[in-house]
Each structure stands twice: as C-alpha cells, then as structure tokens.
Amino acid sequence: MAEYKGVMTYCEIVEGSLPSITYEVLGCGRKLADELGQELCTVLVGSDAENLAQEAIACGVDKVYVVEDPLLKEYQTDAYVSVMEKIIGQVMPQVLIMGQTSVGRDLVPMLAFRLDTIATLDCVDLAIDPDSKQLLQTKPVYGGNALATYTCDSYPQIATVRDKVMSPSEPDASRQGEVIAIDAGLEPSVIRARLLKKIKDEEDGIKLEDAQVIVSGGRGIGGAEGFNQLQELAVLLNGAVGASRPPCDNRWLAPSRQVGITGKIVSPDVYIAIALSGSIQHLSGCGQSKSIIAINKDPEASIFKYADFGVVGDWKKVLPAFKDKLKELLP
C-alpha cells in the first residue's frame, strides 16, 4: 500500500467567500488531523481562489492547494472531478472530507468511483478509530430512523458532512501555513456536461438557512396561494418561508425552499410547522430547531411528537388569529 497520509478538506467557495459549511468542514478536518497526529491540507478550486488561502490557514490548515483556471469559474462536474483526481493523486491524503452541499453530493460519488474507493455521504459524526486509525463515518439511514457507522479499507477515505452539525473552526489570524499553486492542466474537452445557465431563485428577504424564525408549510397548505399567508407571518416575524417536500415537488414554492434530507438543514430559534405531517425525512432537516410550533388538523400527525406547542385545527382558521394577536403583542 502506497503511503496515504494526512487529512484533506475541500473548501467550497460561494460567491467569492467561504460559506459556513466550509468553516464546519475545516473545524472537523482539524479535529481529525489532530486525532491522527497528521497535517491538515485543503483544496481551493475556482477562478479567483488564492485570496481565500489565508482565511483557510487561519482556520487551522497547514497546507493550501490552490487551483485556478478560467474553466473552473463555475462548478462543473467533469472539470472539478478531474482536478480533484489529479490533486489526490499528487497529495495522497488518507482522509478527504467536504460538505454535503449541492457540490458535495454531485462531486464526491463520481470522484470516489473514479478513484476506486468508497465514500460515505451526509455524515453527522466523523472520528478516527484509536486502534485501526480508520475513519469512523456515521450517517443517518432509513430516512433518519437509524444511524449507521461505517469504515472502509480503501484509501482515501472520503466523507461529506451534513450542514450545521460539525463545530466550525474559529479563525486565528496568527496561524501559519503554506500556499501551493497547482496547475489544473484542464483541456476544455474534459467537460462533457456543460453548464449553460444558472437561474438563481429570487431571494426576497432573509435566506432560509440564516433565518432565526422559519414558517414552513406542508401538503395541507393546498396550493401556492396558501403560502402567501405563511409569507405574511414570516415577514411579521422577520423570518423566512420553508416547506416540506410535497409543496416543492408541486412547485407551489421553489425547490430551494425545501427543508429536509433532500433539501436544506436548518436550525432556527423557532420553527413554525403548518399543515405539515412531520415525516422523519423532514424532521432530519428541522429537528435541531430550538422550539417547534405545530398547527395541524390531524391530532395524530407526527410533528406533534417533536413540537413544543401545538394546535389541532384547520390552519386556515388558526393562522389568521395567531398572526393578528402576534401583531398586537410584538413590539
């Protein structure tokens, strides 16, 4: 077995800066590197990635590999997989971790199969086994009904981590590290699936993942119009509107509004679940909320098992009264 050594993280960049998941990945990477007593390196890929290298170092990285190329301006599977394959071939890390984001979900499986190794996606815990030094990868299965811990015997050991689970790294500007530029060496012909256009959802107000209050609706809202009422409450509470899967599948709301295992992981102070049954897949996305308030006409709805306050009743009647009273009460 060739020498696989050290922990590598992939530093996702969003609009020129590092999103919160990247800090979580770096925090987790540092912890694993310390458990192994080895180096932590990171990979910054993009068209203007170098100026983020110092930030990564401040977050505990020993070595930063920077790959810049005009072909890497936007995420495209073929280009990014090729670049990562090349870097891993050069660096040979024992462990590679990145975030369970749109990029992570897409990049990691393809990369793992290209490297002929095994990856575990959507981990909620990562640790190093003190005896075997293997990566212990824990992820929810059966929609969150069980937690499975895996190891694998092939290298690198690859995992993605769920959003908002790992402790983020605290930047310390006095930390020192090395920055190494790597030539992408990309031929345009590598890109077989080309990104033509990205249509971003209009962000009216606070982002779902940043909101301290989320007003979420389920299938029982019945249509796009119903969500206008939820929006009014969200505006009143300075929050954002979310949904379970059915409203997004039916396009009552943009797919990016979905909370749950196939959508976003959120952890607001208050999660208001309206006409939403509370499937375990949905709870996987909002179960970390500090408080949950549920309105549902079905007293058996499983959301009530997770809620702190509940009203059994027709949301169309409950919600307007709730909103009016809050308007009165809130400063």
Binding site: R105, L237, F309, V318
Partner: protein
C-alpha cells in the same frame, strides 16, 4: 432513443417511517411487519422522466432492478406505466448490496446491453439514502453523469438537463450517452390504467442470476458496518392549546408563545 432506468425495490417509506426499529446486536434495521415493498420513489421519478421522453419522441425503455427475492408484481408496475422491458437481477448474493457493488453490478449488465442513449436513476434510495449508485455507474462506464435533474430533454444528439441546486436551477447540456439522476421535482410517476395493468401481466420478465452474469459481488470492496444505533430523538413535550374554536386557539397560541418568550 434507448433508455435504461435503474430501479430499486425498497420497503414502503411512507408506512415504514414510524415504527422502524434498530437491532443493534444484529446490526439490522427492522421495518414494521407488513411493510409492503415498493419501487423507490426517486426511481419512480426517473421512470417518469423516461416516459415523458417516450411520449414526446418515442423511446424504448428497459428497466433493470437488482436484489434478492424481488417482488415481480411491484416491479411489473414499471411495464404497466409504459416501460418496454424489465430485467431482474435476482440472486441471494444480491441481498442488501451497498452502492459500490450495486453500481458495478448494474454497469456490468448495462455494458452487456451495449447500446443506449440515456441511463436514468433516482437521486437516492429511500432506505439507504446513499445517493451514489448513479454517479458510480457513470464513472464506471466513463460517460457524463448529471445529478438531481428536474427536467430531461434530449434533442439533436445532446441532452438538456435542468438540475436542482440549493439556490436555484442549473441548465446543463451534455453529450450522449449520459447518466442522469432524477429528483422528485420532476414529478410523480403516472398511474397506469386497469387495461395497462392487465396487459403488463403478459409481458415476459427476464430474470438473471449472479453466476451467468459473471459478477462476483462478494469479491468487491465494501464498507464495513461497524455499528447501527437508534438516533437520539428530539425531546419535546407538546403543550396543546385547547379552545372552543380554532380562532381562539390561534389567539391563545400567540399569547402562550409570547409568555414563554419563544417569539
């Protein structure tokens, strides 16, 4: 146009969601008794994507499924919905396959089929939630892989795909053959009519065993399941607001959450 759809049989996620328990000793998930097998919902979305293409421009759709003791009546629904051919890779060796083995097995069978324009899979399975088989098949067959599609439209020898990402939609154009994983936003699988269900009974199904396929999954790399446990549940004691009318309950709820300083 020849389309291959990969389809997994799973315990019905809607009826198994409550009551699923974990046998930590045997490291097994136990779904409630009587949970019926169904087609993985995301794979149904993939089949629907194939059927939409067939509607628009004609296509031959081959469905492949791998597992142990597959339920023919369940998988035959794919034929009733409009697929042309069903191949079952059914063998005791194919029980609880992980992503690595599944992708290698399916890729081997697809290679044998040889000619195809598109391979469609669900974005993930509702039981394992791994989300790796599709990309794995693409990597093994060395064809482009596009994930989380909500629209698949082949035209002029290329395929246009809209894919769901966290902040919107991406439009991707790819050469063919290509592998595309499909997300639920594409739409639910159509309901077959009684006539179609009856007709599907007469369509022969191809069943193949591990030995004749020349694929030995026991020799493949695999993840080691070290531990299986129940997740820590969210502990909450729901305080129900009980009033004469729903309007009063709404008002009272506002008072209570204000009092508790939640809002």
């Amino acid at each position: 146009m020849r389309i291959i759809v990969c389809l997994k049989q799973v315990p019905d996620p809607t009826s198994s969601s409550s009551g699923t328990t974990v046998d930590t000793e045997a490291k097994r998930v136990i779904v409630p008794q009587g949970t019926p097998p169904v087609m993985n919902p995301y794979d149904e979305n993939a089949l629907e994507a194939a059927l939409l293409i067939k509607d628009a421009q004609g296509a031959t759709i081959t469905v492949i499924s791998a597992g142990k003791n597959l339920a023919k009546p369940v998988l035959r629904k794919s034929i009733a919905s409009g697929a042309d051919e069903l191949i079952l890779l059914d063998d005791a060796a194919f029980e609880n396959l992980d992503s690595y083995a599944t992708a290698h097995l399916l890729a081997a069978v697809i290679k044998e089929i040889g000619e195809y324009d598109l391979i469609l899979c669900g974005r993930q399975a509702s039981d394992t939630d791994a989300g790796q088989v599709g990309s794995g098949i693409a990597a093994i067959l060395k064809i482009p892989g596009i994930t989380a599609a909500c629209k698949v439209d082949p035209q002029n020898g290329k395929v246009m795909v809209e894919r769901v990402v966290s902040d919107g939609i991406e439009e991707v154009e790819s050469s063919m053959p290509a592998l595309i994983t499909v997300s639920s936003e594409l739409g639910e699988l159509r309901y077959p009519g009684v006539k179609e269900i009856m007709a599907a009974q007469r369509v022969p199904i191809t069943v193949r065993k591990a030995q004749e396929l020349g694929v030995d999954v026991s020799q493949m790399k695999k993840p080691n399941l070290v531990r299986l446990s129940s997740p820590p549940g969210r502990k909450a004691e729901c305080q129900f607001i009980e009033c004469e009318t729903p309007e009063e309950a709404g008002t009272d709820l506002a008072l209570k959450v204000k009092e508790a300083q939640i809002l």
